[in-house]
């Protein structure tokens, strides 16, 4: 009897202590720079469900750049809708705007933000309301009675806008990150936990931490930095994972009497997650059968029968769409050799140019261009590049016939090319990166994919005929 009484008394004491205890935890799953990796979502959803079963009030956050990286998402009828639909299903609460969120211009961002069930947080964007971009500077979430204030910010580059094509930010202005964040210091008095959801890169997150001792956590993105869990800088915990949902971060913030007393973070692998959420898996299958891919862009009058003919098409698209004098791409970038007469579809473009390269524009003298074409010939395994706006004659090295010894540029009608004149040249990121020749202007990434440019070109042309096109030939002995 006495034993029973003691047991009951102990249980009552324990229960009372639990009631009196004011220790609480906030749990967060965060990611960044998912870059449209929709294929990882069945695992991400299963992982999130699993953590949520332990912590029902789990917050799920993204630090931006949710899109740009897979045509299944990026050229969907409503660009980037698949990612938004999948993030809705997983139960994201908030996302920062990344620089790539602007890749479909203000109109595209407006559509995406209106379809999201989660909040897009960005305190340093100032958009014309007519653009319909639905963002908030901050939001306060109630997590089991704990007030969690989250402020979002996006990086601002040298041009005063995030790193995207300037046309994508028409009608939008941005204020400097640090100055903007300081305007939300008052959240410290209103909230138990303050989080900055940033898309500014690791180095800038560390710099920012010095000025925001009032924040508890920075969930960062942009620099694709893999932190081992989190790092404490100036009393602020910073988290970031590499990119494309390789892993997520699980952060636990412990509060005692309403004060944050502990913050810790760990990485959880998404790639190695063996479970898949079936509903999300079906959604991914649906988005993978995108009818947009079968859309006919133009008609091919006579079949393509060589890499050279298709290379002429690709370099023409580059040159004409950028209004450049010369266009070129490395020959290895032409991924198939033949195409029947008849329809040329979106899928055909993406198979021909699957690498997601962006267009690079530069101003080169004729001689700089000649040296660049020679460098491209020797640093690409497939020989001299495909060109537009010029023709090219090459000479192989007699001692090593896998090497090109010299290239000579001629005009389209076979005349001498002025090597002293300056030309506007369009190529793509891969070709620009492998060319080691000296040049004053290294060029600029226009933040437009070459595949998109080719689609625009083909749609504009309506019909094409490249039968017999040949602009690169061995020089006559």
């Amino acid at each position: 009897m006495k034993k029973r009484f003691l047991l009951a008394f102990s249980a009552i004491c324990l229960f009372s202590l639990t009631l009196l205890s004011t220790t609480k935890e906030v749990h967060i799953i965060s990611t960044n720079d998912m870059h449209a990796n929709i294929q990882a979502f069945p695992q991400l959803a299963a992982l999130t469900d699993s953590v949520r079963s332990l912590y029902p009030s789990l917050l799920v956050l993204s630090a931006g750049d949710n899109r740009t990286g897979d045509p299944l998402n990026d050229i969907y009828e409503i660009p980037a809708y698949p990612m938004v639909a999948l993030m809705n299903q997983v139960g994201f609460h908030a996302s920062a705007l990344g620089n790539h969120e602007f890749d479909s211009k203000a109109e595209g961002l407006g559509r995406v933000t209106s379809l999201a069930h989660f909040t897009h947080l960005c305190a340093n964007i100032h958009a014309d309301p007519a653009l319909g971009i639905h963002t908030r500077p901050y939001q306060i979430f109630d997590v089991d009675g704990i007030k969690v204030g989250i402020v979002g910010v996006v990086q601002v580059g040298m041009r005063g806008i995030p790193d995207t094509h300037p046309d994508n930010c028409k009608g939008i202005t941005f204020t400097p990150v640090e100055e903007t964040v300081q305007q939300y210091k008052w959240l410290r008095d209103q909230c138990d936990v303050v989080i900055l959801l940033t898309h500014i890169g690791y180095d800038d997150d560390v710099k920012l931490s010095k000025d925001v001792p009032w924040a508890d956590l920075i969930v960062g993105g942009h620099s694709h930095t893999q932190l081992k869990g989190g790092e404490m800088h100036n009393g602020v915990l910073i988290t970031q994972t590499v990119n494309r949902l390789d892993c997520v971060t699980h952060t636990t913030i412990t509060l005692d009497d309403g004060k944050v007393v502990d913050k810790r973070a760990e990485n959880i692998s998404v790639t190695h997650c063996t479970q898949k959420n079936k509903v999300v898996e079906e959604m991914v299958k649906f988005f993978s059968n995108n009818p947009e891919f079968q859309r006919v862009l133009c008609q091919v009058e006579k079949p393509f029968t060589t890499y050279e003919e298709l290379g002429c098409l690709m370099s023409d698209a580059l040159r004409e769409e950028t209004h450049a004098d010369v266009g070129f791409i490395n020959r290895g970038g032409v991924r198939y050799e033949t195409h029947d007469a008849g329809p040329f579809t979106v899928s055909d473009v993406l198979k021909l140019d699957p690498f997601g390269n962006d267009v690079v524009e530069m101003n080169l003298t004729g001689e700089e261009l000649r040296q660049m074409l020679l460098s491209c010939s020797n640093n690409d395994t497939y020989g001299p590049p495909c060109v537009s706006g010029i023709t090219l004659e090459y000479t192989l090295d007699k001692n090593d016939t896998t090497k090109v010894k010299n290239v000579k540029i001629l005009t389209l009608d076979g005349k001498k090319f002025d090597l002293k004149k300056t030309y506007k040249v369009a190529t793509h990121t891969y070709s620009a990166a492998i060319c080691t020749s000296p040049r004053k202007d290294q060029g600029r990434d226009l933040n437009i994919q070459t595949s998109q440019m080719m689609m625009n070109y083909l749609e504009r042309r309506g019909t094409i005929n490249y039968a017999g096109a040949c602009r690169v030939k061995p020089a006559k002995p």
């Binding site: 620099s223 694709h224 932190l227 990119n243 990121t429 990166a433």
Partner: protein
């Protein structure tokens, strides 16, 4: 834009990603661009970064060929 890869000064186009600076670095050393996939990249603090990580003026990255 000027960056450093393993202490080698690299000039590359504005808006380049880590992989573009590495391709330039490999090409200068006559290493096949296809070996890009065997590279592990670190920032100046020793953190692993992705091949698609954006670069900024003056940034230093380190490369380990696996």
């Amino acid at each position: 834009m000027n960056v450093k890869v393993n202490r080698t000064h690299i000039e590359i186009f504005e808006g380049a990603l880590a992989k573009h600076a590495i391709l330039q670095y490999l090409s200068r050393r006559k290493i096949k661009p296809s070996r890009l996939t065997e590279c592990q990249v670190f920032d100046s603090h020793g953190h692993v970064i992705g091949l698609d990580a954006p670069l900024t003026e003056g940034q230093t990255i380190k490369l380990k060929l696996l």
